[in-house]
Symmetry: C2
Subunit: 633 residues, 2 copies
């Protein structure tokens, strides 16, 4: 055999051509060519974020789990991680696959772009070229640096003592030309005051200007991390993993309970730190040595996750009147949270509004940009603890809805997380009186994920098998009596992965109705509290992982989302991570995040007059008040 | 036998009467009566600080080491630790024996008194009585406290994260009435700016107002510590011990060298921490539980000791051009220096002027008060590294003199520290051609301490046995030829503790002349550098342990001190500890200390024109220029 043949693979719109051998994935080829393509799952084909368009030539690929027939065959969309080189090709990398540029585009619509020109991170590096000491000028190293900093308008900074220890060697290894890294803390009570400056490190001068921040989204279920290049403003691809705390409960309440046990708090803190540290290790593979150039971590998470990360006992979060220890976090040392970074790195945690409207929501609102716009907006993060924000540039109210675990597969007989084997799509053929299942991973079904549950119930309601009350028509096909009452047979044992009949019970439907009703009555309460109606909502922004696979029409059908024209809906993905990214890039936006926190009026729904009535009225499909859900064309 | 008879012992001027049995020491009786009497040595009879006056009645006592015949017999002075109850008595406790009030009296002369009324420590406690949360007001604990603090004019403080962790329980254990402890850091570069406030702890409210600061003097040889009650301004008796680092060298240079060895730095830091921790343990016996009420430690030490305490490598201190890493220290956590205190306690270290004029001198100048006075003053701390400061309220210059170890018994054949067996006093009887020795502890002599060396040489010079050149008259009695040349027999073997002849060699005298000459030419250089002469000195303040046993006339005789009327001299004891005490009591004085540091112009004597000539001219007894030492009446 001769040398292996290499093909030209050209990436558009950049026009970068990379030579590649047959069999290499488009993702790997792009990486070699420094073309960033989102691949949260690390190229495992399970996140569906690395979509590219084949413009010419051929690649070897199959539709996989995430691409529809239409996308694959008519639009020539491929997953970069699953498509391999088969000859010369032109590949278009759309905006939404480019390092979350998708988000930034949307943010830009909201006048919220951050470009390299407007970079103003809360951690600044100052290069000082100092005169080396001699017999006639032998003031202390720190005094020499302080004079240089004062000349650079950093007067009387606070100084992290860790920085001092390495100062003498830093000065002398680069002939008194050094880089000083200063953390700026923005005064919250007096935003007009100068930021509080604190020196965090002294490093020998190097020509390389690169330095990074880490943006982290600490979710109850999954944790995301990415690097942000503070020298260029470049946002680098994110990595994600399940939160290691999940072994101690799927929701925040069970975590809080566990934290109250002996060593529980430090164990949970250790687990989330370990999860983040694993992600940091994965970033090291792509960006070796980045830790030496990183002095800032921005983390966004719900109130409980923030406390567990910081190691503060969250017990009062679940006790009335639901007072969290901390809403606005002081800057802390990242190693104090167990993070495996340079010990001089600071950690900033997004402020929470209340015990159940956390920093992830503040971060998400920041990322969405709606706080700057005129339109009346509903921001919604669907989950066990669903959070809702309503408002515009002038005002914002928020609330948390205790939806229960149905959206995440909990409290549902065959409920499961969105993973291979989960029924996600469901179509009923009225003529043939049978259904078709869409199963993640195209395997035999073993259960139902949250979005599958919505899709199934919506379809069964549309075809009349499920009633407005959430009950089965007793005589409908595939409806039978089971041990928990009536149930619908989704997949008989012989066609199912577990060798058991997979069914949907009336109790499951009841749980879904309870969950969607909690969300609906929640935002309905907020809207009406300001004298408006749901029809006034000009935009609905859906954030969070659950939204990705949500079928909007089905969600409206069951009464989870308000009945509005589809174009008013916008899905913005992991807005919490996006907000942490923005804050990493810009102190102005970090200040904005704190202003958003201060501006949001929190409603404790259980204490809000009218909420319970609305909740009761929502316990139907789609709702007891038909006028809220007029027929849709 | 019946019950033991008890006598009335009355302490004046307080007029407190304490019942005491025969045999109990006056010091013990005073302690029971809460009358503070200085006893740095812990009642061992070796520090001589606990002098009291017997006004009436009897006690059992002997003059001991520290009292002259006149003091004992005519003035009825006793050492409280060595005098025991023998019947009813009236005891007068003079100011200088009362918890270092002596110092404060002198400081008061310099308009520098700190009374309870002018207490303004750098650590403040604020009591907040907050409204407990309810369903309609459930902001976070920290937000609630921040609002309370803002109302108390503490806006946007920095917050030590350690404090946050205990906040929820502190609030709830005292129904939301709490004590907030705030550290204030004074901006050095912009003294007009507001102090930087940092919350260090939240504690449940208690009725007891007592809280403390710890003042510590970290000397190369000994370490002193005392508590200061910040609620009342009361200064409590000090405790002292040898610096545990002494096993690794007696002077700062040998410590710096050791710090450069593997683990040397952390070992030395650990040793000084252990020394301080032992003292803290001793304080615990008298003030049980004080650590819970202590959030501030003020430490003063020379530049090397400060670095070793803070754990910063001091290597550049001994390398030209002698640049210390740090002169003005950031506030650090006391536990970072290894101190066994509440983890939320902060440590403030006195600023140094240069590598060899350290925080102990700045602290001493603060304590002396001369920086506020018109008189031209020489401040002198005699030791291996002698430090000198000259100036007044308008200007100050300073320098360090590398005197060598002679004053501490080093480089002297039979040199030793001032401890039992050391010859301290020496009188020569011209008629009988013999001498009388004063030995510490009244034992057989085993060596010569620093002050003894000065006294011996001065007396031998006066009687003509030692010449102006520091040589022996060959034919003088007791002068003989030894292995190191001519020597004077102080004590023959049969009368000595070690069974060897104790002698003073010409080399020993040479070393003393070198040492005193270094000091003399040092302050002479500083005085002349500003166009003045030694005769212009209106006051000479002697600080440090060495000064205590210094015979002024003898020190003038050998040319160590300038020839001035005795009333111009003032001995102020451990001024470094006194300065740390003052700074503990008053932020204004702490600010002053930093101003003093900034105001002092440091001379590197070896780089100062004329110094070497002056040094050479000083290598005689008392000096080559006889006009500097005119005959004294």
């Amino acid at each position: 055999m001769g040398e292996q043949e290499l093909f030209d693979v050209t990436f558009l719109p950049d026009g970068v051509t990379v030579k590649a051998p047959r069999g290499e994935s488009i993702l790997e080829i792009a990486n070699r060519g420094k073309i960033h393509i989102n691949a949260s799952c690390g190229g495992e084909g399970v996140c569906g974020r690395c979509v590219v368009e084949l413009k010419s030539g051929t690649v070897e690929a199959d539709p996989g789990l995430f691409l529809s027939e239409e996308e694959f065959h008519q639009k020539n969309i491929r997953l970069a991680c699953k498509a391999t080189c088969d000859g010369p090709a032109e590949i278009f990398v759309p905006l939404e696959s480019r390092g979350d540029a998708s988000f930034f585009t949307k943010a830009a619509q909201a006048d919220e772009a951050v470009s390299a020109e407007t970079l103003d991170p809360t951690i600044i590096r100052t290069t000082l070229e100092l005169t080396p000491p001699d017999n006639y000028d032998n003031v202390s190293d720190l005094d020499r640096v302080a004079a240089g900093l004062a000349a650079a308008d950093i007067k009387d900074p606070d100084i992290d003592f860790l920085a001092v220890k390495s100062l003498p060697d830093a000065l002398r290894s680069s002939n008194f030309k050094i880089r000083v890294t200063t953390n700026l803390d923005i005064p919250i009570q007096d935003p007009e005051a100068k930021p509080r400056a604190r020196i965090v490190s002294f490093d020998p001068y190097e020509d390389d200007e690169t330095h990074y921040a880490l943006a982290v989204d600490v979710g109850t279920t999954s944790v995301w991390a990415r690097l942000v290049n503070l020298a260029t403003g470049e946002v680098l691809p994110s990595v994600a993993d399940l939160n290691g705390q999940i072994a101690f409960g799927e929701d925040v309440i069970s975590r809080i309970v566990y934290a109250g046990k002996k060593d529980g708090l430090s164990k949970l803190q250790g687990l989330v730190a370990e999860t983040i540290n694993n992600l940091l290790g994965r970033l090291e593979e792509t960006y070796p040595g980045y830790r030496k150039k990183t002095r800032l971590v921005f983390a966004a998470g719900n109130t409980t996750m923030s406390h567990l990360l910081a190691g503060v006992d969250p017990k009062n979060i679940r006790l009335a009147p639901y007072v969290p220890p901390v809403a606005s976090w002081p800057t802390i040392r990242a190693t104090a949270a167990g993070l495996d970074v340079d010990p001089r790195t600071v950690l900033k945690i997004f402020p929470s509004v209340s015990s159940y409207v956390g920093g992830d929501i503040v971060s998400g609102v920041l990322a969405s940009g709606f706080y700057q716009r005129e339109e009346l907006t509903l921001f919604i993060d669907v989950g066990t603890n669903g959070e809702i924000v309503i408002g515009n540039k002038d005002w914002m109210t928020c609330a948390a809805c205790s939806a229960g675990p149905a959206f995440e597969g909990g409290g549902v007989k065959f409920g499961m997380r969105a993973a291979p084997g989960a029924i996600e799509n469901f179509t009923y053929d009225r003529e043939k009186k049978r259904h078709y299942l869409g199963v993640i991973g195209k395997t035999k079904p073993s259960g139902i994920c949250g979005s599958g549950l919505i899709n199934i119930v919506a379809e069964l309601f549309r075809v009349g098998i499920v009633t407005k009350m959430g009950r089965y028509q007793e005589d409908a096909p595939l409806v039978r009596s089971g041990e928990d009452g009536l149930e619908y047979l989704l997949s008989p044992a012989e066609e199912s992965a577990g060798g058991k009949d997979v069914v949907l019970t009336e109790i499951d439907i009841e749980n879904l109705i309870r969950a969607k009703g909690a969300m609906f009555s929640g935002y309905q309460t907020l809207v009406e509290a300001v004298g408006l109606t749901l029809g006034d909502l000009e935009r609905v922004i859906i954030a969070g992982g659950f939204g990705k696979s949500l079928n909007l029409e089905n969600a409206i059908t069951i009464g989870l989302l308000p009945s509005l024209p589809l174009e008013r809906f916008l899905y913005i993905g992991n807005a919490s991570l996006s907000g942490a990214t923005l804050a990493s890039l810009s102190g102005t936006l970090w200040k904005t995040a704190n202003e958003i926190k201060g501006k949001m009026t929190n409603f404790e729904l259980s204490e809000t007059p009218g909420y319970m009535d609305k909740y009761m009225a929502s316990q139907f499909i789609p709702h007891t008040d038909a006028s809220l859900f007029p027929p849709r064309e």
